[in-house]
Each structure stands twice: as structure tokens, then as C-alpha cells.
């Protein structure tokens, strides 16, 4: 009697549990789709994977969205959303260019830090408004999306940063490789690993999940909800700022349209990767794979002979499929829980 626990430990062996968990995990499913896509495209055109430019682009192109999706996931887990990341990215990319134009000889790491700090400040504004204004993040960040873009238009006007304005060392970073892996990809993966580890093990990281599952319960439990939500927005802003610097290095040209509309891709990547839009579940690993898939699909479809105009429809179908899958899995789990209860 006294040994009856509220939750019984699982009777299945640990190996089977881990294996079953992996098989059911959304990350693996999306990863399988990604691998299949790369294989099919490579069969059609072996340069996609095996030419040196093809391999480099495969790793390099997703890294911008990967960084954004990582930040977006941190926010979505807390049952919020950050739509202002596209504008933040643009502002930070232009700041990067301006720093190099106005202060030639500035060390590259300083510019990276400046971009991240600038993005963090913009994220802080979002966080303060959402955490203490008690207005839904969707509305707040939609507002700051336009405000930041407006500030960008005022600042940049018709001016643009050209590749010849950037120092060689910086624009070379856009394609530089270390042991065959592009430097920008390494940066993105390091960011992913740090944020992923934080969400998985750190107390503050776990609290973000708790807040997203049930904000009221989290408040009652005594979690510092406002402070954690603020942290999530600062992380998202800082990563958008970093993505801006990466944008400048990769594309070499920054005009006032930079990053326009990319926020929806970031949300899309997170959703495809299994991050629930109502918060509380999902991982940055999933979001990263989602970002990889989203970008790679866009690159693979033209090679597979599917026209430009259909590519967006395919991306939309993918998002719907991901959400439908989510719903299906939730229903199944509910049924199982009910059955277990009845027994």
C-alpha cells in the first residue's frame, strides 16, 4: 500500500524505452525526410552533395535560418512568439555594414558582439512589453516588427552596403571552411549546442517549458515567469542580431529589405521540427532540423524540376502535415492515457 506511487516506473526495459522514444520522436521523423530528400536530389544530380560547392552550400545555406529558429524555439516554448526577428536581423546586418564603413579596422569579433548586443537590446524591448504589459506576444512583436523595419528604412533609406564596403577577411568568412565545414555553420552549430544544452539541463531552461505548459500553474508554483519570459526574448533578439552579422558575411549586400519576411520561416521551421505553437514542448534540435529541411527543400525542388511557383506551396503543405501529425499523436496519447486510467 505504502509502496504505491502516484506514477509507476515504466515496466519496459530502458533500452526499449529509449528506442521506442527515438522511433516516436518527431526529430527522427523530420530527419528521415531530410535525409531522403538529400538522397533523391543527389541521385538526380550528384553535384548536390558531392561537388565541393554543393556540399558547402548544403551546410552553409541553412545556418542563417538555423540560428533564427533556435531563438524562435526558446520563445515559442514559453507560449509566446517573436515576429520581430526579421526586422532585428535586417537592422543588425545594416549596423554590421555601417560599423565597417565608419570604423575601418574594427576587429571582426567586436562586430559580432556588437550585432548580438544590439539584437539583445531590441529583444529586451519586446520582452519588457510582453512580460509586464500583459499583451499577447503576437501583437507586441507584430508592432515592433513594423517599428524596427520603419527605423531601418529611416536609417538606411536608399543606401545599401556593398560587398566592396566590407573588409576582405569578413566577407571571406561567408564561405571560409574549417576541415571542410563552413565557419558560419560551425557558429550556428555551437549556438545550437549551447542553447540546446541550456534548455535540456539548466534549471532556467526547464522552467521555460513549465511556463509554456501552463503559465498560471507556473506562477502559482512560484516560478519567476516575467523574468524567464524576458530572458527568452533577449535570447531570441541576440540570436537574430547574430543572424544579421551572418547575413552580412554571407550575402555581402545589405539593403533596407534585408530579412524581410524571414520571421515566418523561422516560426515555420520550429513548427515543422515539432515545437508546439502553444508552448511547453519541442526541442531546438527539432527546430534546427526543421530549418535545415525548409532551406534544403527550397534548394532541391528546382533540381527536381519543380517550378518556382510550386515551391512555396510545398513548404505550406509541409507545415500543415507537421501540425496534422502533431494532432494525431496527441489524440493517440490521450486515448492511451484514458485507457490506462480505465484499467
Amino acid at each position: 500500500m505504502s509502496t504505491d506511487l502516484l506514477v509507476q516506473p515504466s515496466a519496459t526495459s530502458p533500452t526499449r524505452r529509449v528506442l521506442g522514444g527515438l522511433l516516436r520522436s518527431r526529430e527522427i521523423a523530420v530527419f528521415t525526410v531530410l535525409v531522403a530528400l538529400i538522397l533523391v536530389t543527389t541521385v538526380k544530380n550528384d553535384g548536390f552533395l558531392f561537388s565541393s560547392t554543393g556540399f558547402r552550400d548544403l551546410l552553409l545555406t541553412p545556418c542563417l535560418l538555423l540560428i533564427l529558429a533556435t531563438g524562435q524555439t526558446v520563445v515559442i516554448i514559453t507560449r509566446n512568439v517573436d515576429l520581430s526577428v526579421g526586422s532585428t536581423l535586417g537592422l543588425s546586418a545594416y549596423l554590421t555594414g555601417r560599423l565597417f564603413v565608419d570604423h575601418p579596422g574594427l576587429p571582426i569579433p567586436v562586430v559580432f558582439l556588437a550585432g548580438m548586443a544590439f539584437g539583445a537590446v531590441l529583444g529586451l524591448v519586446n520582452g519588457v512589453l510582453v512580460a509586464w504589459g500583459k499583451v499577447p506576444a503576437l501583437v507586441i512583436t507584430l508592432g515592433t516588427l513594423y517599428i524596427y523595419r520603419g527605423a531601418f528604412l529611416t536609417w538606411a533609406g536608399s543606401d545599401r552596403i556593398n560587398a566592396s564596403d566590407l573588409p576582405r577577411g569578413f566577407s571571406r568568412l561567408g564561405t571560409q571552411q574549417l576541415l571542410g565545414v563552413p565557419v558560419l555553420t560551425i557558429i550556428a552549430l555551437v549556438v545550437l549546442a549551447v542553447v540546446g544544452y541550456f534548455l535540456w539541463t539548466a534549471r532556467a531552461g526547464r522552467e521555460l517549458y513549465a511556463i509554456g505548459s501552463d503559465p498560471d500553474a507556473a506562477t502559482l508554483y512560484g516560478l519567476r515567469v516575467s523574468r524567464r519570459v524576458l530572458l527568452a526574448f533577449v535570447v531570441s533578439g541576440a540570436l537574430a542580431g547574430l543572424a544579421g552579422v551572418v547575413y552580412a558575411a554571407r550575402y555581402g549586400t545589405v539593403s533596407s529589405g534585408a530579412g524581410y519576411g524571414i520571421e515566418l520561416q523561422a516560426v515555420g521551421a520550429a513548427v515543422i521540427g515539432g515545437v508546439a505553437i502553444f508552448g511547453g514542448s519541442g526541442t531546438v534540435w527539432g527546430a534546427a532540423i526543421g530549418a535545415f529541411l525548409l532551406v534544403t527543400i527550397n534548394r532541391a525542388l528546382p533540381i527536381l524540376g519543380i517550378s518556382d511557383f510550386w515551391q512555396q506551396a510545398v513548404v505550406g503543405a509541409l507545415i500543415l502535415a507537421a501540425v496534422a501529425l502533431d494532432r494525431l499523436l496527441t489524440l493517440r496519447q490521450e486515448r492511451k492515457l484514458v485507457e490506462a486510467n480505465d484499467r
Binding site: S52, A151, W155, S158, N162, A163, P302
Partner: protein, 345 residues
């Protein structure tokens, strides 16, 4: 809130300093010109007022400096005035002032085809000749329009360049702006006709759209090269597209193997012409445009061109003929490693 205010203040400071530097530019070139008498009956030495879309714009600095040289060459007095911002009605007060000061001619690049019409017609009633260049107004508010290039000329120069660069045979593709961009599609149709008629060995395999977005154009170029391994050349008839494509090409295996040409501006393309990614691209020459506008204004003042037709001599550029109120500059100008250093716009 404190942080927020600081941001606003920083932004305001930036905007202010930008405004200051712009107006400083204006002060240098424009001057007030208020002590300028109307010049009396001497037709060779009138005042020619250049009114660009905005001051501090390198494109118009190039054309107006050439205009200045031309005006001084034929003995007129040159003036440049203009707003700091290229907003639709910002040019109106400058037009009024020029008319009141009795300028002989006004050379305008219109920010809006409608908004400055009334002011221009008032100036014309006061016997000021009005020449538009780069951007036209409605035809009934100016005496002459200097057209930088025709659609046929723009299409032909791009086909000719790619044909020359790939040896007149092989697969090419087009990287355009938006799929519904009217001017782009008109050029693409003309290019297709030209290819079919005069270059049977060149095959246009694909047309992709970068939406005049740096990132999308860049990624579309990558996809284009992946999907068509035998591609010999790319034409991008948009300044954003060609710069993004050049950026991608310059870092890929295809550099030097796939030719790239189209319409671009020297400042955006300098890097890629210097590193050998791009051999030659085209656009009109804003300096020639300024020179021609100056001589056209003189021809109107001298009465060589009346009612929108007549011919005149434009210095080194040779003889030009006005028809239906339009003077055509001619073939687009080709930029390459030899001349790109002469331009800054």
C-alpha cells in the same frame, strides 16, 4: 523605458547627422544663386538650373557634374538645387524659385510625374525651358525628355554581351526580379526574340525570379547552377539580381566558367569586376545623360528645337535629333575593368 528613450535619441542623432551631411553637400554645389541676373538678351549665356531627385545621390552627382561641364563649355551659368529627400512634391519650391529668378532652362529628374506638373507649367509660362531626364513627367509639362535607353536597346545589349562572353553558343538562364515586374518581362520577351532570331546556338533553359531581394536572388543563383550543370551564362536584368548572382559566383566553383552579365551599377559590381567574376555589364552612363540634357536645354533656349523636334549638336556626344519631345541617349553603356574606376554611383 530609459533604454527605449536612449535608442530613440541615438536614432534621432543619426537622422540629424545624416541630414546635416546631406545639406552640407547641397551648400557646396547649390549655392543660393540669388544675385544672379536674368542674363538679358544674350542667348549663349543663360542660367541652366539642374534639379536632381535629391542631393547627395551619387548617381545624380555624376550626371549633374557632366551637365555642369557642358554648360560651362558653351558659356552658360550652371546651378544645381534640390531637396534632401526624394519625396514627390519636394521639388516644387525649387522650380518656383528658378522661375522667379528668370532661369533660361530647368533640367529636372522628376520624383513624381504628376506632383510637379503645375509648377513646371508655371515656369514654362514664364519662358523657362523645361528638360526632364532619367525620370519623365507627363508629356504636357515639359519641352523635352532625355530618354536613357529604349527597351529594345536594353534587351539587345544584354544578349550581345552574353553571346560575346560565351562564344555565341550554349545554355543560358535569366535571373529576373519579380515574376510580375512589367519592365523586366518586356525586356525578357525582347531578349527571347533576339535570341531566336540572331543566336540559334544559344538556348535559354530557365528563367528564375529573385524578387529584387538579395537573399532570394543569391539562393536562386545557387539553385540555378545546381540544376543546370552545363550552364554557360546568366543574364540578370536587375541591379539587385546581378550583384547577388555575382556574389554567389565569386565564391563558387563556377567562377570563371559561368559568365554573368546584365544591368548593374558600378559601385555594386566593382568588387566582382575586379576579381574577374564579371567581365562586362551594362547600364546607361549618367554622365552622358547629364551632358546631353545640358545641350538639349541649350538647343531649346537657342530655338534649335521647337515643339519637341529638331536636331542639335551635343559636344563630344555628336548630333542628336528630338522627336515627339523625346531625345534618345542611345545604346546602354557597357562597364568593364577598363572603365569602372571612372564611375562612382
Amino acid at each position: 523605458m530609459k533604454l527605449h528613450n536612449r535608442r530613440v535619441a541615438a536614432l534621432a542623432a543619426l537622422v540629424l547627422s545624416a541630414g546635416l551631411s546631406l545639406s552640407a553637400c547641397g551648400g557646396d554645389d547649390g549655392g543660393s544663386g540669388s544675385d544672379n541676373s536674368s542674363g538679358g538678351g544674350d542667348s549663349a549665356s543663360g542660367t541652366y538650373v539642374f534639379l536632381p531627385k535629391n542631393l547627395g545621390n551619387p548617381y545624380f552627382d555624376t550626371s549633374d557634374n557632366a551637365g555642369k561641364a557642358a554648360v560651362e563649355a558653351f558659356g552658360g551659368t550652371y546651378q544645381e538645387v534640390g531637396p534632401d529627400q526624394a519625396s514627390p512634391d519636394a521639388q516644387v519650391p525649387f522650380i518656383n524659385t528658378a522661375a522667379q529668378q528668370g532661369a533660361s532652362a530647368l533640367v529636372v529628374s522628376a520624383n513624381d510625374p504628376e506632383a510637379i506638373c503645375d509648377a513646371l507649367n508655371e515656369a514654362r509660362d514664364a519662358d523657362v525651358k523645361v528638360v526632364t531626364f532619367d525620370s519623365d513627367t507627363n508629356a504636357d509639362c515639359r519641352d523635352l525628355f532625355i530618354n536613357q535607353a529604349t527597351a529594345e536597346g536594353i534587351a539587345k545589349v544584354q544578349v550581345d554581351m552574353i553571346a560575346e562572353q560565351i562564344g555565341d553558343e550554349g545554355d543560358i538562364a535569366i535571373l529576373s526580379a519579380a515574376a510580375n515586374a512589367t519592365n523586366q518581362n518586356a525586356w525578357i520577351d525582347l531578349m527571347k526574340e533576339d535570341l531566336a532570331a540572331n543566336h540559334p546556338n544559344i538556348t535559354l533553359v530557365d528563367t528564375v525570379y529573385g524578387d529584387d531581394d538579395d537573399q532570394k536572388s543569391f539562393d536562386q543563383t545557387a539553385a540555378l547552377l545546381q540544376a543546370n550543370p552545363d550552364l554557360k551564362g546568366i543574364i540578370s536584368p536587375t541591379t539587385v539580381g546581378i550583384a547577388a548572382a555575382a556574389r554567389y559566383l565569386s565564391t563558387s566553383d563556377a567562377k570563371g566558367k559561368v559568365a554573368l552579365t546584365g544591368l548593374g551599377t558600378p559601385n555594386q559590381m566593382r568588387e566582382y569586376v575586379e576579381d574577374g567574376t564579371v567581365t562586362e555589364f551594362a547600364l546607361w552612363n549618367p554622365a552622358d545623360l547629364g551632358t546631353l540634357a545640358a545641350y538639349a536645354a541649350k538647343a531649346l533656349v537657342d530655338g534649335d528645337v521647337t515643339d519637341g523636334s529638331g536636331s542639335f549638336e551635343a559636344g563630344d556626344l555628336g548630333e542628336f535629333t528630338a522627336e515627339d519631345g523625346v531625345v534618345l541617349l542611345g545604346e546602354p553603356f557597357k562597364f568593364n575593368a577598363d572603365n569602372i574606376g571612372d564611375f562612382d554611383f
